[in-house]
């Protein structure tokens, strides 16, 4: 019997509290104030679960060809370094000012790819990157490049990202240089 009163009234109270908070204007909206741990956890879980599910069936092409690296490298250098940096570069306006922060893709990440040398993990990391580049991420500065670039070009960037953390500044320069028109061969 009691439940019939307690549950609805708790729900109503929660709804009122939520709405009051929303309208109060108290939530800090600026990109220079980080989320609370809870909000962060909710958003990260939402993002990672969604991407893992959506990307799990993707077919991965051969990512080891030099032509892939050259195509992906030139595109990366043109379109991504303003946020994700390149070897020898520590920061940019975007890498500092955006929230969530764009990860430095020249560094090997420990928290994002969960690979322990296991192939299926490496494959899933590649699928995840492809999906993110193609579709972008809501509520972040990461654009959906798939609207303007075909899958082949996006896979080429994934191929390049695999090698990027190991590249020296000189290697990066040579591979990404778009001399004449020949950088986009495949």
């Amino acid at each position: 019997m009691k439940c019939k009163i307690i549950i609805p009234s708790t729900l109503a109270l929660a709804a009122i509290a939520g709405l009051s908070f929303l309208y109060s204007g108290l939530y800090p909206m600026g990109a220079d104030v980080p989320h609370t741990k809870l909000t962060y956890w909710v958003l990260e879980t939402l993002r990672e679960r969604s991407i893992a599910r959506a990307s799990s069936k993707l077919q991965i092409p051969d990512l080891n060809s030099p032509a892939m690296l050259l195509a992906g490298g030139a595109d990366y250098n043109d379109m991504c370094t303003s946020c994700h940096l390149k070897p020898g570069q520590q920061k940019s306006d975007m890498s500092q000012g955006l929230y969530p922060q764009p990860p430095n893709l020249t560094k090997d990440t420990d928290d994002h790819d969960h690979s322990h040398g296991d192939n299926s993990d490496i494959d899933q990391a590649a699928r995840r990157q492809f999906w993110i580049i193609k579709h972008g991420i809501k509520a972040s500065g990461m654009p959906a490049w798939g609207l303007t670039h075909d899958d082949e070009r996006i896979w080429a960037m994934v191929a390049f990202l695999k090698k990027l953390p190991q590249l020296t500044e000189q290697q990066y320069q040579i591979i990404t240089a778009r001399k004449g028109n020949s950088g986009m061969q495949h």
Binding site: A14, A15, A17, G18, L19, F21, L22, Y27, M29, A31, T39, V42, L43, N64, S65, P66, A67, L69, L70, G73, A74, N77, D78, M79, S82, C83, M94, L98, G136, K138, A139, S140, G141, P143, T148, H149, D150, E152, R153, K163, Q166, L167, T168, Q170, Q171, Q173, I174, I175, A177, R178, K179, G180, N181, S182, G183, M184, Q185, H186
Partner: protein
Amino acid sequence: MKKINLKIALTGIALLLVSSTVFAHDRSKHKGKQEAPDCEAMKDMDHMDKMDPVMMAMMEQCSDEHDDDHEHGDNDHEDKHDDDHHGNDEHH
């Protein structure tokens, strides 16, 4: 309830942020379109594993460079690329 509304609000910021990237993309079309690979630097690199894709990619970049010096065949090269329908908007 609160969380869902938060997300909508956050999507709002995202839109603002994303609009700034339109600028980033456009600008990229104008900068860095032609740059010579610094092939001299390859001489100083130690491990020369010829089967390593990174090494092969660098050698490809740098051997094309020699073709450019001779000024022949380079135009064929470009024509071929214009023929493919690859959505390559960097051409012109």
